[in-house]
């Protein structure tokens, strides 16, 4: 049963990492715009075009 001394901390640690990651994502506002995020991923050329440059759809 000594394996428990290793496995339980590992299990808890991994869960804790997940929790921290979630809290971090909430804090940085990643849950603020779920609808927008769903569509943004489709636009690959997210870089703004230099002013005046003509179309390149």
């Amino acid at each position: 049963m000594t394996i428990l001394l290793l496995l339980i901390p590992v299990a808890l640690g991994l869960g804790f990492l997940g929790l921290i990651a979630f809290l971090w994502s909430v804090r940085t506002g990643q849950f603020e715009d779920l609808d927008g995020a769903a569509t943004r991923i489709l636009f690959d050329d997210g870089k703004p075009l230099p002013p005046g440059q003509k179309s390149q759809a």
Partner: protein
Amino acid sequence: MSLALQDIAADPRPAPGTCRHCGQPVPKSGEEFCCPGCAGAYALIHELGLDAYYARRDAQGDQPVTAEGPVLDLANLVETAADGTCSLRLRVDGLTCGACVWLIESALKAQGPVTDARVNLTTRRLTLRWKGGADLAEGLAATVRKLGYRLAAFDTGAADDPQKAQEKELMRCMAIAGFSAMNIMLLSVSVWSGHAGSMGEATRTLMHWLSALIALPTVAYCARPFFRSALAALKAGRTNMDVPISLGVTLASSISLWETFEHGEHAYFDGAVMLLFFLLIGRFLDSRARGRARSAAEHLLALGRTPVTVLKPDGTATLLAPSAVANGSTVLVAVGERVGIDGTVSDGVSEVDTSVVTGETQPQPVEPGARVFAGMVNLSAPLRLTVTASGEGTLLAEIVRLMEAAEQGRARFVALADRVAKNYTPVVHTLALATFLAWTFLMGLAWQESLFIAVAVLIITCPCALALAVPAVQVVASGRLLRGGILLKSATALERLAKVDTIVFDKTGTLTLGRPDLLPDLERRGEDLESAARLARASKHPLSRALARAAGPGPVAEGVREIPGMGLELDGPAGPIRLGRRSFVGLEEGPQAVGEGPELWYARPGRVPVRFAFADRARADAAEVVGKLRAAGYRVELLSGDRPGTVAALAAGLGIAEWRAGVDPAGKCARLAELRASGAKVLMVGDGLNDAAALAAADVSVSPSSAVDIAQTAADAVFQGDRLAPVAELLSVSRKAERLVIQNLGFSLLYNLCAVPIAMAGHATPLVAAVAMSSSSLVVLGNALRLSRRAKEARS
């Protein structure tokens, strides 16, 4: 906003005969755009190299409202950081899909000074950062406006901040409770499997200690929302669902800690934390659903709040938000503009459309000294107003007074869940106490063991399913309503709506659209309408707009002069062509028949003048909806401030037998009080300033999103769009929701009836408690979800 989904076309060119920007039919075949606004938006998009927008959008854009739009008072809203970066937050209207987000962001980033532009599609807000002066704000806003989106100011100190903070706290609590519940369950499952005999006492105690290590901080942190609410209720001498929840969780944790000390066999840490997790999910969803509805309602209000033109003492005009205008300032109101603020006319003679304020559809003449209120529309000549404080024995003051009286008279509605809790809590706590006493004194058990059984009773009866029964249904219902354009603002509105048996409608703006529409006339020739519309398109007057709307998009005559108070004039080859009031075209000002709406006359040299009659027409589906409501057993009444002829005609057309005309705000309140005194549960649907008091006096109230601020604030729910169907939908959803709530409550009580004897007999081990609690919660949630599934079936 048109949400009609189109085929996602790879070819950005629309079908021939439709506008290249908005996709609506063009007036003449061969043309590319339906209006100059669309042409401007297209040119801007093309110039910025963003044509990809047309291929990307999955919904048709809106017709740009007006290319120039109202100038907002933006310079005051800009926040300047220490390093010279300016930032501005705005509300954007007209966003339909991700392509709009991309278009706005790309168009703004193409402007030199802009460092960051981010549109939030969920909350419809634009956050903009740029280097340079705050005075660039107007130009940047104009860029977005030219693309066809409407903008409104966003107050940075908005009142939704406590709401937002609460939602974030609930989300954090939920995440932590979820983490703890899963990890403790992992340990508990091992303990339960170990009961078969393979696990030694030392290992079991280790597991219990680990569980305690996770559970105790979790309970201390995550149960705070419940503790706070329970304490507040107890202080007020009441009890709510949170009292048994707090007590159950605290007792379960302490007794389990005691057991762990004693190397005992059972610990309830998993039950306590899982309970918290489930309840927090319910509470978080509830808070988010209502937060969404409220922010959508604020969004609508903010869009309607356009700045007013203030004349400074030195003669220059500036734009200010209505709330920033000081008493005694002079405000200009142009023809066709909505009065943004209460005041007295100081200069100018005009007619105003007061329908939003009094329900009266006939324009009212105003002259210096007359009072005007926010929401009225200036019809014929520019006006100067002196801003006055609301009060001083005016209509508004009377309405505020009536609203206060109505709110006092309205008994506080006690939510069903709280009424259940009120009866449930004492019963459960008595049962637990009885269990403890019976085991100690009748069965001769040691007091620790008896206490353990008593706590098991409290845990098993901890109203998990009961506390989820109502919020789960409300979340699903408000989500379904939100998709249908109905914003539910009050938490108890659904319950109150389900009890309604009488519906009182206001006329103007509620059953009707509150704007003039051209009446069909068989004798009129289509050519006359088209020719008159050429003039009408040049004007912002509501009647001209109605005429132009009826004629559809088309060319605009050049050189049209607007003569205030009279009409429009155009120099034709054979003499002046006129569109305006009766006397303007040279006819005698004759007496109007009762119940007739406004009219326009169109005169061309050498021809008989043509009459265009207008009326505020009923919403397209009003008759059908009223019929449906009556068939469903509701008593429908019409209360209007308008004159009897007009009201009678509308009531007859819609099949409403009971109507009253010429009712003032106090009269409306009195009628509602009369109905309520006779035992009826009344739903009031109204939009005007004169309805605000009645909205507050009714059992529950609804207003359209076109209503004045004060009415929307007083109403429990707001519906969007030109149709009346949302009212019927709201009532049917509320009845279905009530049925589901009762089923859920019934099930929870049944569950308790079965589980309590088991717990009292001392057989409720942690395993039994975990299985019973989670399964009952899942059943309740599943039952609530049926409400949204039915909506999907109805749509497809």
